[in-house]
């Protein structure tokens, strides 16, 4: 199949999946007890019965569920994700303000996890039974076994409370005043702990995977041949072995993207990172259906796009796939 037809087919699947995600989420969210009017009444310190009825009527919550779904899907088809029940602002604006920080966090964590994880795996694979390999294996297992919110809290206790060297006040300092480069520095300073926290669990996976993959590849005939030709060990490892060993990493990186986003949800809450995760968490508690549906829609969209990009990069990295395996 040609690349264009392949991409077109994948895009079509993506659209169908997105509609499925919307419908399923719609019913799941509405199955929860309580309604947004009660949350709004809650923050108001109470409301009259008339006001509750007005709020429900205002947001169409007094209509039958299927009618609400039909109206919602109609709006989404026109690019309108609705108004947040809580903030009374367009959902698209709320998400637009937060999608950047989430992508920044997710990408920073992904890049750190892949590069460091692969490097750790490569070093461990060179002497699979050596002490360094054992150390990396133990470290990976601990990282993998620790819940991300726990890791985050431990890092906060260590690096923001006992040794307060990192901030916990969001993405930038509230007192920030400076130029463009200072701003980037401030963001990176705030990014360090949350990105590291999110990366740890994936770091473990990548290092384990690349270690296994490298051990496998380093035993292959072509590596022996390369060594027999007298190539340096660095060239053997990084040019010949790593390129083949990295293929499963690409696959897993794509698959893990969804997990990375759900991990980001927790990390954002722990570190007060102003991304979609925190908004999602709050929206669940507030029964802010349009906001939550919008976030889930965007999350699904990001995962689908990430998987598509993974497939494409896989085709790039492995010529056998590009040429149809001839």
């Amino acid at each position: 199949m040609g690349s264009t037809a392949y991409i077109a087919r994948r895009l079509l699947y993506g659209v169908i999946l997105l509609v499925g995600v919307l419908v399923l989420n719609f019913f799941l969210i509405h199955a929860a007890p309580g309604d947004p009017a009660e949350t709004i009444a809650g923050v108001m310190g109470g409301a009259t019965a008339k006001m509750l009825a007005e709020i429900r009527a205002n947001y169409g919550l007094d209509k039958p569920l299927l009618t609400q779904l039909a109206i919602y899907l109609g709006h989404v088809a026109h690019g309108d994700l609705g108004m947040s029940y809580y903030f009374n602002q367009p959902v698209i604006e709320l998400i637009a303000a937060r999608v950047g920080p989430t992508i920044l966090l997710v990408l920073a964590a992904q890049v750190f996890a892949i590069t460091t994880g692969v490097a750790m795996g490569v070093f461990a694979a060179r002497k699979p039974s050596g002490p360094l390999s054992a150390f990396i294996t133990v470290l990976s297992t601990i990282g993998y076994a620790s819940p991300v919110f726990w890791t985050g809290i431990m890092l906060i206790i260590l690096f923001a409370s006992i040794w307060p060297i990192f901030p916990v006040d969001g993405m930038t300092s509230a007192r920030f005043a400076g130029g463009y480069f200072a701003y980037i520095g401030d963001v990176l300073y705030h990014l360090a702990l949350p990105a590291f926290t999110l990366a740890i669990i994936f770091l473990a996976q990548y290092s384990r995977l690349s270690r296994a993959s490298m051990i496998d590849v380093l035993g292959a005939d072509y590596v022996r041949t390369a060594r027999a030709k007298g190539l340096s060990e660095t060239k053997v490892v990084f040019k010949h072995a790593l390129r083949n060993a990295v293929l499963p990493i690409i696959t897993v990186a794509g698959i893990q993207f969804g997990n990375l986003i759900s991990g980001a949800l927790l990390v954002e809450s722990v570190f007060n990172w102003p991304g979609m995760g925190r908004l999602a968490f709050d929206s669940v508690l507030r029964r802010d259906y349009p906001t939550l549906l919008g976030i889930l829609f965007f999350a699904a969209l990001m995962v689908i796009v990430a998987n598509l990009l993974t497939d494409l990069s896989y085709r790039f990295a492995d010529p056998r796939i590009r040429t149809g395996g001839r």
Binding site: E38, G45, A47, V168, D169, R175, R278, R287
Partner: protein
């Protein structure tokens, strides 16, 4: 000044939205006719003087002449009229301006409020976040005020102008150079950072990333921050809020429909254990529906001191003998999720404590606020922990819980106990219209004694709200409204490094 908060405002217009989250930034953006000091005394603000008529049926406000909205337009009596009418129609606290029958504006700077009957709470209702003066030329453009775009981008006449509102994240307020009180505000800028996670907010304050943390009620954090040399911690500034943590009874459901059973539960609970042990001595005990810091509190209220023998005897007498397992009957107790030690912690204590009186308690968790609110407002409960505010005058925050006319199914923080006593109704209705302070106080005294005996609610403690601040800040808000009133007097004693 960097303020941190866990409160997430929906928008910033207190005229149509109650609650701390909107009130704190809202009172910096909007000015009100009056403001109150720490001794419950009204002071001029947008109104330079005021006069309530002898018969108590009208109130004349004389406005300052130099007040302007942030867009440069003058604040006039028309804006005051529009604001009060808007609040009357849309604010959830209906009792504030319900008696207002008409508003006259004889000239640009005079507003006359006519009342259907005397309304002694009127002056308080015109202070703090209860009466923001909103511009008619912005909010009166015909759009639905509840969903008006200017609610999130407001124009007021207060000491600070809104320059950024990132919903759920950050609010930036900058000094209004044309503020009508000369030389104020002292601060150039207030940044309000919002985080739903209390520990993060506390840590940011502890590390100096934030300078001001109001509304902190968790005793473990309060005691921790009290140890800091750099930070000041005060419980002043919450007198009018009157936040009470209580145990409510579903008085329409057996066996709690029996007053003796409710009283027995009162005798089985040790209020002092809650305040001194569970809440680390930070919270003050509260034995009345009216906050003890209010001038209307009746110190003669019965306290129901711990007396397990009496509790057991009363329950025996009420016909609830202990069974073979030592238990008399089973009840559930709910609590507001996310209320921390004030709610879940106390509910867990009540489970073990009431077992001593032979009452088997099941603590029922709700995953989130809407679930809890649905259960309680639909009377699907036996006992529930709750937090309810007095909001300054009993007419605003107390009557709603005890008036039988406010038993409204599906409405949280109405009379969800379904408590009904015609004498209480009569006393509250009389107190709402009584001009004479002493007579009014007498009505409330009697009301408190009756509900103290009927016990539809067992009041436990005043929520120990505290303000944590950088000690270099001066004039930290300590009036009855605290940070829910203009902070134009707050200043830095020395320049921040």
């Amino acid at each position: 000044m960097v303020m941190v908060s866990t409160q997430v405002p929906r928008h910033l217009n207190p005229a149509v939205q109650s609650g701390i989250a909107t009130a704190v930034p809202g009172t910096q953006i909007f000015a009100s006719p009056l403001r109150y000091d720490a001794d419950w005394k009204p002071h001029p603000y947008l109104a330079e003087s005021w006069k309530v008529s002898e018969d108590g049926l009208s109130c004349t406000l004389n406005l300052v002449k130099n007040a302007k909205f942030h867009d440069g337009k003058p604040v006039t009596s028309d804006d005051v009229k529009f604001s009060i009418e808007t609040i009357k129609a849309h604010h959830p606290f209906k009792t504030m301006f319900e008696p207002v029958s008409s508003i006259e504006t004889p000239d640009e700077h005079t507003t006359v409020i006519r009342l259907a009957h005397p309304h002694p709470a009127l002056l308080l209702c015109m202070s703090g976040a209860l009466c923001p003066i909103i511009p008619k030329h912005v909010f009166g453009d015909g759009q639905d005020i509840m969903n008006h775009p200017a609610n999130s981008n407001p124009v007021g006449s207060g000491p600070f102008k809104l320059t950024e509102f990132k919903a759920g994240e950050q609010i930036v307020l900058e000094k209004n150079p044309d503020f009508f009180i000369e030389g104020r505000p002292y601060l150039d800028k207030i940044v309000i950072r919002i985080s739903p996670d209390l520990s993060t907010v506390v840590l940011a304050t502890e590390n100096g990333q934030a300078d001001f943390l109001p509304w902190l009620a968790e005793s473990q954090y309060i005691t921790r921050l009290q140890k800091s040399d750099r930070l000041g911690v005060t419980d002043k500034g919450y007198a009018a809020v009157g936040p009470i943590n209580w145990l409510a009874f579903n008085t329409a459901k057996a066996p709690l429909d029996n007053k003796a059973v409710r009283q027995a539960i009162g005798y089985a609970i040790d209020r002092n254990f809650v305040t001194k042990a569970l809440l680390r001595g930070i919270a003050k005990a509260q034995r009345s529906p009216i906050i003890e810091s209010s001038p209307f509190f009746n110190p003669k209220m019965p306290s129901y001191g711990l007396d397990l023998d009496k509790a057991n005897a009363m329950l025996d007498e009420a016909g609830h003998k202990k069974g073979a397992d030592g238990m008399r009957f089973k009840l559930t107790i709910d609590y507001i999720p996310g209320g921390g030690e004030q709610q879940q912690g106390v509910a867990q204590y009540l489970k073990s404590q009431l077992k001593k009186a032979g009452i088997d308690i099941e603590v029922r968790a709700s995953p989130d606020f809407p679930t809890w609110a649905k259960r309680i407002s639909n009377y699907d409960f036996d006992l529930t922990m709750d937090e309810v505010y007095n909001w300054g005058d009993p007419v605003i925050g107390v009557h709603r819980t005890y008036l039988s006319s406010n038993i409204r199914k599906g409405v949280i923080w109405s009379n969800t106990q379904q408590y009904s006593n015609p004498k209480v109704d009569e006393l509250l209705n009389n107190a709402a219209v009584e001009k004479d302070l002493e007579k009014r106080k007498a009505f409330y005294d009697e009301f408190q004694m009756i509900v103290g005996d009927d016990l539809p609610i067992y009041w436990i403690n005043a929520l120990p709200y505290h303000t944590v601040y950088d000690k270099r800040l001066g004039n930290v808000p300590e009036s009855i409204w605290g940070s829910m009133q203009s902070m134009d007097e707050v200043y830095w004693k020395e320049k921040r490094s």
